[in-house]
């Protein structure tokens, strides 16, 4: 009578140790799954902030490029009018043109630089190449224009994918905890069967989770 009772006690201790181990693994796997979701969320937040910053900088660059284009248009138009005045036979008109060139055009030129003063900004079709000026303005603030929200989103997607796969492992581990608990409570002959089932499910869940971690560690080139 003593021997079966002793055996039962040893089995209960073994199951208790297993339950503690699996509980700890479940907690760890749950934490990791939640942390992956959190990392993905942080990356999305960073990506959206980068998108807003980059777009705000681009908006300002477009506004400035078109404002400069307006100054350049007015400058070039004024020059052509002045040339007609300068070429006229009327001395008063010539004098007027000279005064305008000295006092008005200098200020206009400073506003119209570089679109109105550098011929390379004229597109082959004749209009001002505002896109070229915009690209230059973007290049002047590389800290903002080089922000890449899509890179953050792409990295977030890898964390989401890992979370998706890891949650399966976490569920298997959690399910094994249920079976181990059931084997501890059960006094039926099926107790060993339930225990083996629990250990098997736990093993599959653990191997699955470690495999997922390893694969995504490689895919992200060492980034945890």
């Amino acid at each position: 009578m003593e021997e079966p009772k002793k055996k039962d006690f040893r089995l209960e201790v073994l199951i208790a140790i297993l339950i503690a181990l699996v509980s700890l693994t479940t907690a760890l796997a749950t934490w990791r799954t939640a942390s992956l979701g959190s990392k993905a969320g942080d990356l999305i937040f960073k990506g959206l902030l980068d998108a807003v910053k980059r777009q705000a900088a681009a908006n300002e660059d477009w506004r400035r490029a078109y404002q400069e284009a307006g100054y350049a248009r007015d400058y070039l138009m004024t020059i052509d009018g002045l040339i007609v005045q300068e070429n006229s036979t009327d001395p008063a008109s010539q004098e007027h043109a000279a005064q305008l060139r000295t006092y008005l055009l200098t200020g206009m030129e400073s506003l119209a630089t570089p679109l109105g003063t550098d011929p390379s900004y004229l597109a082959p079709q004749g209009w001002l190449d505002v896109q070229k000026r915009f690209d230059e303005l973007e290049a002047q603030s590389p800290d903002l224009s080089s922000l890449d929200p899509l890179a953050s989103f792409s990295l977030a997607d890898t964390y989401f994918s890992e979370q998706r796969w890891l949650v399966l492992g976490t569920i298997l581990i959690a399910v094994s905890l249920f079976w181990l608990g059931l084997s501890q409570l059960s006094h039926l002959r099926s107790r060993i069967l339930i225990l083996v089932l629990g250990i098997t499910v736990f093993g599959i869940g653990l191997v699955w989770s470690l495999g997922v971690e390893f694969v995504f560690f490689i895919l992200r080139a060492g980034v945890v």
Partner: protein
């Protein structure tokens, strides 16, 4: 009862995975929607700055052309009343305005782009096509944003519903636990209740998967 418990655990595992997946898809769609909204505001600002410049350039062209014409007509009138000095001054003014108009015409996108340029000086540029092209990217972004927003609501509702299914299945777990602990005469009754609740969970999950 063991089979029922096993079925319920498997079902919970599947629904949990589906819930996580729906939640991830909702997050991604929400992100796409917000990103498209940021791009849309940028597109509107660019289109606004561009149309402001293009239309203003066209307006300057029209103004200078009209000023040149008016000065020319006035010069002819002065010539008719034998005011030679007035004729020459107004002719020069007309030439100045015409030179300005010519330059602005060469700078005008609306007057030179083949898609919008008028066939002759008597007609206006194709404003309808110009405005349509100008706003096409913004409209595309709005469509993208709306689609992503709809996808977000779709997946978010699914995710919420999966949580409800999980709650139902947790109730089934509780009923199975009670059945396990209770006296044999009541065990079947609790198992029956649990079966009913599990069936509701399965049915609900299938409905969510289909729609």
């Amino acid at each position: 009862m063991l089979v029922l418990t096993l079925l319920n655990t498997v079902l919970i595992a599947v629904v949990s995975a589906l819930q996580v997946d729906a939640n991830i898809r909702a997050n991604q769609a929400n992100r796409d929607s917000q990103y498209a909204a940021v791009q849309f505001t940028g597109s509107l600002i660019q289109a606004g700055a561009r149309s402001d410049y293009d239309l203003n350039t066209y307006s300057v062209l029209i103004t200078n052309t009209q000023e040149a014409l008016v000065a020319e007509y006035s010069a002819l009138q002065q010539q008719n009343i034998n005011d030679q000095q007035g004729f020459e001054a107004l002719t020069l003014e007309s030439q100045i305005y015409q030179a300005r108009a010519d330059r602005v015409k060469s700078l005008s996108f609306l007057m030179n782009a083949p898609a919008y340029a008028p066939a002759s000086d008597q007609v206006s540029p194709n404003m309808t096509t110009y405005l349509s092209d100008l706003n096409s990217y913004s409209l595309e972004l709005v469509q993208k944003q709306n689609d992503a927003s709809d996808a977000y609501h779709h997946w978010n509702n699914k995710s919420d519903s999966y949580v409800a299914v999980l709650t139902v299945l947790a109730v089934a777990f509780f009923l199975l636990g009670v059945a396990q602990m209770t006296q044999p005469s009541l065990r079947s009754l609790f198992s029956l209740f649990a079966t009913g609740v599990i069936s509701i969970g399965i049915l609900w999950t299938l409905i969510l998967l289909v729609f």
